[in-house]
Amino acid sequence: MDESKCVGCGACAEKCPKKITDTYNMGLKDKKAIHVEYPQAVPLKYVIDPNNCIYLQKGKCGACKKLCPAGAIDFEQKQETLTLNVGAVIFSSGFNPFNPSALDSYRYDYRPNVITSMEMERILSASGPTGGHLVRLSDKKKPKKIAWLQCVGSRDMNRCGNPYCSSVCCMYAIKEAVVAKEHSEEGLDCAIFYMDIRTPGKEFEKFYNNAKEKEGVRFIKSRIHSIQDIVNSDDLRISYLDEDNKLQSEVFDMIVLSIGMEIDKNIVKLSQKIGINLSEGNFCKTSTFNPLETSRKGIFVSGAFGGPKDIPQSVVYASGAACAASEILSPARNTLAKKVEPIPETSVIGERPSIGVFICKCGSNIAGVVDVGKVVEYASKLPFVDYAAENIYSCSQDNQDGMAQLIKEKGLNRVVVAACTPKTHEPLFQETLTSAGLNKYLFEMANIRNHNSWVHKDTPELATLKAIDLVRMAVEKVAIAKPLSETELEVNQQALVIGGGIAGISAALGLASQGYDTYLVEKNNRLGGEANKIFKSANKENVQKELTSLITAAQNNDKLHIRLNSSIVNVKGFVGNFKTVIASDNKEETIEHGVSVIATGGTASKPSEYLYGEDERIITSLDLDEKFINNDKSLKKVKSAVFIQCVGSREPNRPYCSGVCCTHSIINALELKKINPDMNIFILYRDIRTYGEKEYLYHQAREAGIIFIRYLAIDKPNIKIENGKISVTVYDTSLNKYLEMEADLITLASAIIANQDQKLAKFFKIPVNEDGFYIEKHAKLGPCEFATDGVFLCGLAHYPKPIDESIAHGKGAAAKALTLLAKKKIRTSGTIADVEPLKCSSCGVCVSICPYSAPSFIPDDARFFAGKAQINPVLCKGCGLCVASCRSGALRLKGFDNDQIFAQISAAFEKAA
């Protein structure tokens, strides 16, 4: 297949006689030997499966070649080997979903209604094999009862050799159960069989609680060994011990296996070949303080190859790896990247409109319903239309080139494309206008696919009339469109990082080591933040030693300007041009910077429960760390130590999980065992959340004889001090009785709380959630940045996380900031609000209503129009809220002027001649 020629029309796949398994749909559907992975695939180019193509196997057929209108089929293509000369490599080879076929007792290969969670995703998807209808595979019956079995291919040493936790399965199982319930009209029973529910991510615990309490998803703590067949039935049986240790047996219509992640065997081989060390679980081995570097210099790791990760974590590590690579390559920045030469714009002012109309067939997507020829004929007769034509695919490269050519040849000064949605394709066509020297705002799209051919399939004649209407409206609007200008703005090349903890130092070093002057502001008298109090990392590294070298690196970097004992007094400006006043030791200085990174961190809460503060033997995890750091001799004398988990976390008033405490307590418990192997150690927990490869620590702890006792939130452990002796009573849910133990050391795993700073939130216009953590731009795809342009986020200020994740987050925020700094200039949008000051009554509604703080009053001492509204073009997002709210009609939205909108409306009610 010649990629440059394929237009993605699909004619080849329609006629291809060979059906093969559709791997995208997990084998639940067929596809053709020539195919695209899925309709939205990027690039949208068809490929031939050489192992199944009849022509390539037997030399016969070739139907696709005969049919292809673009001449893109090339059976002679051979595999090529390319040698790339690069400065760095990023390994993000991902994972394979675990194949449960080997676990015979789950009957996956034998029973059609035992499916994997990936198959469930496809069944729930509207583009999946069942069109989004939740039916079971054996008889297409709507299920009434579905079970999810957790930890299939994870936390399992005996049967599959994957002792680690895959981190994501608890959360996706809950999501699938909730979505499945939404799909079912008649009510659906969803049961999740689990060992520990692990929902340590941001907002995850709330989702879990909601699923349990409001959605009625059943959570049953039991690891299921096997699924039993039922004779003459497609149903399946599960037997399990309930919380009261009674044997239960339940029948389900469908069972979903929550499969874990595995590294592909070929990636394991490749890693070994090129010298990348792997962990016990075959993930890329990294260290706590260098979470993005592989053992081979110049090769970095991102995504699930570095350990099981969900989407936002993958994105954080991906941006972090980009920063790490950029740090070693920065002298060569912009040496190989290609630059687009700007094309001079031709002036159209004073010219008569000359409109070109391009009607897209979108293969058969539009042409299969709409009589495109008729629409073209109609369009060509509209006023000011000097050219009208149809394309099979308007978006294909050769049509873009043709369009640019036509604009120049025919002197067109306005363009209408009637095709799909401007949401995805407007930028592409606008680029074509720009390349032809035309202002990109002299363009209009009519959506005759999503709004028309897709929804009016059954009434093609009416759909053709609607397409005609939509084209007429677009032509009327574009005829009076004016060229708009985009302001270009310099980006100040300095950076400000607020917060000198692990995340803040990492972000600052990421920027400073690439040559950008970076100011690091810390409120305390030293850098390091909470990490100053931590003894060992999850990889058992000495945190104080590593932290010292990180701080030294920061101190020795002459581009990094550290301000201790400092606070932010004021912030003015916006993306590219901030002015911040920093107060340090009664001195104030103003820093100009283009980007801001918020790394204000969090802190351990002081417990109000479990007699904390009343006895020196009752301490927090960080207090115990302090004892380790100071080599406290009293620890040797401890005979019995008790750890209590979830102190202040997962509570009604603080519903989130603090994420790090299970791992922290286990590391500290192992440390105590090292000091005194005879010490009795108990960890009282609700769920052990040693996600990812931290699960190995949990194994080690149990092997070391540390005793784990699960308690319930409704019946918490009770501490008593009598005659100088401390005793703890706890209801053990597996023995179903109260246990009492003596303790001479009690460690409370206290919650992590955010360092809230309302002033800072106001200065940068950044939102805070109800738990006090900052809200990132997008929970999945934008974890390192804010919705406010030019402001970035990392570390505990976002959500509790361990050191390695904080460092990756810091570097991730730096990478995002770098994309802005590297541009040097930013362009504002042309479609923004504009004030006619003579009409403005200074009422201030626009100032108060704008979510982006774009409107403001012109200062009283200004020479002209003092007190009237003005719009900052950099902050305006063109939402039009101010325009609609202006009582004086003083505001307009460029590109959506009143006369344009009215022209469109009156065109809508004209009759097609």
Binding site: Y24, Y38, A41, G87, M118, G303, A318, A322, N334, T819
Partner: protein, 59 residues
Amino acid sequence: MSKDIVGSVVVIGGGIAGMRSALDLANSGYYVYLVEKSSSIGGVMSQLDKTFPTNDCAM
């Protein structure tokens, strides 16, 4: 020194992580090769139905 450094990067894997690394590097002035074994980018995320917490279509 800077003459020896090559201003390009190869990113292996076109899933959500690979795409993000590649975009961030391309947007900060490097030439990026994105290598993917299948015929389209997107990885496992493209196969998911909806994503928490917005219930947005994963596509």
